[in-house]
């Protein structure tokens, strides 16, 4: 069966790739496009390591077929920083030591970016529920939550 040619927009740039019809978007990003920031944990929608934003919605890239990307707009972890300037979430994750092995971190940061887009001033409870689909086997979560809440406060302060 012929591979499919897909044209899409990734992190603000036009992108194209070849994929098998049943390949996942996660595989196309990592293997086809070399965008290995998006991680594979469970591959069954449970862990959030593969979180990306497609047409403004947070989704697990392991449960999206690659050909579905045709004509869509995708944001991955690689699209959050501007040049060498880290995204405020990335900066705060460093300051709060909100990571250890780091395999869950891109997923948490992309999911948290979607949260702060939807709710610039989330409560701790809202933050914990929003991130319930992201698993971390190292940090114990607390530092991640502190980093996200601190980022939210930081963004609000810099806006005024």
């Amino acid at each position: 069966m012929a591979r499919l040619h897909i044209e899409t927009t990734i992190n603000g740039e036009p992108a194209e790739f070849l994929c098998d019809p049943h390949e996942t978007l996660l595989s196309a990003l990592r293997n086809g496009l070399g965008l290995t920031g998006t991680k594979e944990g469970c591959s069954t929608g449970d862990c959030g390591a593969c979180s990306v934003i497609v047409d403004g919605r947070l989704v697990p890239a392991c449960l999206v077929l690659a050909p579905e990307a045709q004509g869509r707009t995708i944001t991955t972890i690689e699209g959050l920083s501007s040049g060498d300037a880290l995204h405020p979430l990335q900066q705060k994750f460093l300051e709060h030591a909100a990571l250890q092995c780091g395999v869950c971190t891109p997923g948490f940061i992309v999911a948290a970016a979607a949260l702060l887009d939807a709710k610039p001033n989330p409560t701790e409870e809202e933050t914990r529920f929003w991130l319930a689909g992201n698993l971390c086997r190292c940090t114990g979560y607390d530092k991640i939550i502190r980093a996200v809440l601190d980022t939210a406060a930081h963004i609000r302060e810099s806006a005024v």
Partner: protein, 287 residues
């Protein structure tokens, strides 16, 4: 090399043609059940027919008649919809329970129904709200009450070439509200051990004039429990009436025994959730 096709039809007619011509093709909505099943070793289909580019299958519209929901609309679109949450808080809370934010960015109510899991969270809430399924097929369109849509675990009334296009929910009568509760061993991301949805209409004197009760995960399909509704109608939804409704739900349950819960436990919980959901629905009408 696997010979699998990916199809993205733009119309209902085109989708029906594709799935009617090829019984081994599978409809793909959010893929949160379908793709997980294939990764777990289910046989790959001949084609994935992605229905998310068909206008009729995507979107939420609320008018004087009620809710018109495209079958493949992601759950997140529903939970963000302020008017939907106001008119059907129980349905909105059932949708909000599906997986995580990520899963809700993909998974649809149509997929939840078509997957036909007895534990699917939205089915009971759709049943108590008198939802109807709009089905398109080679012979044209038909409509069926949602409580008749699922026939057994993993089996629906859909026949070869048929597609669930939309779900319609009539606008609730005045002074009506609903609630859905499920029991899971943790606070997020798990499959219901039991679930119950209740809708009640309460008049200005506090008397319940209409009710619907449905229970999930305690039989091969979600069950409408008319006996539980009967226990509520005519009462002031006082403790005695709620207790009778709970007993009716427990009696109607036909649960299995598995690692998630024993038969006796599920039966009891179906009643407890019925009682609590009825109290919440009543409170929502009153406040």
């Amino acid at each position: 090399m696997l010979a699998i096709r990916y199809e993205a039809p733009r119309s209902v007619a085109e989708a029906v043609r594709l799935i009617a011509a090829d019984p081994a093709a599978r409809v793909l909505a959010g893929g949160t059940d379908l793709l997980v099943q294939f990764k777990a070793g289910a046989r790959l289909p001949s084609a994935f027919v992605d229905v998310k580019r068909i206008p009729e299958l995507i979107g939420v519209a609320i008018d004087a008649g009620g809710l018109h929901l495209g079958a493949a609309t992601p759950a997140a679109v529903l939970t963000e919809h302020v008017e939907l949450r106001r008119l059907w808080p129980g349905l909105a809370e059932a949708v909000h329970l599906i997986g995580s934010v990520q899963i809700q960015g993909r998974g649809s109510v149509g997929g939840n129904l078509c997957n036909a899991s007895p534990a699917a969270d939205t089915t009971c809430a759709l049943i108590v709200n008198r939802a109807e399924c709009v089905i398109a097929g080679p012979g044209g369109e038909r409509t069926i009450a949602v409580e008749r849509f699922c026939m057994a675990p993993g089996r629906t009334v859909l026949e070869r070439g048929e597609l669930l296009v939309a779900i319609r929910v009539p606008r609730p009568a005045p002074r009506t509200s609903d609630a859905y509760l499920r029991l899971i061993p943790r606070s997020e991301m798990d499959i219901a051990v039991a679930g119950a949805a209740v809708s009640v209409t309460v008049d200005a004197d506090g008397v319940c004039t209409a009710a619907r009760v449905a229970i999930g995960a305690v039989a091969p399909t979600a069950l409408l429990v008319p006996e539980a509704a009967k226990a509520l109608v005519g009462s002031r939804l006082d403790d005695a009436a709620l207790k009778r409704a709970a007993e009716a739900s427990s009696a109607a349950a036909r649960p299995i025994d598995d690692k998630r819960g024993t038969t006796a436990y599920r039966r009891t919980i179906a009643g407890v959730l019925t009682r609590r959901a009825a109290a919440i629905a009543k409170q929502r009408v009153v406040s």
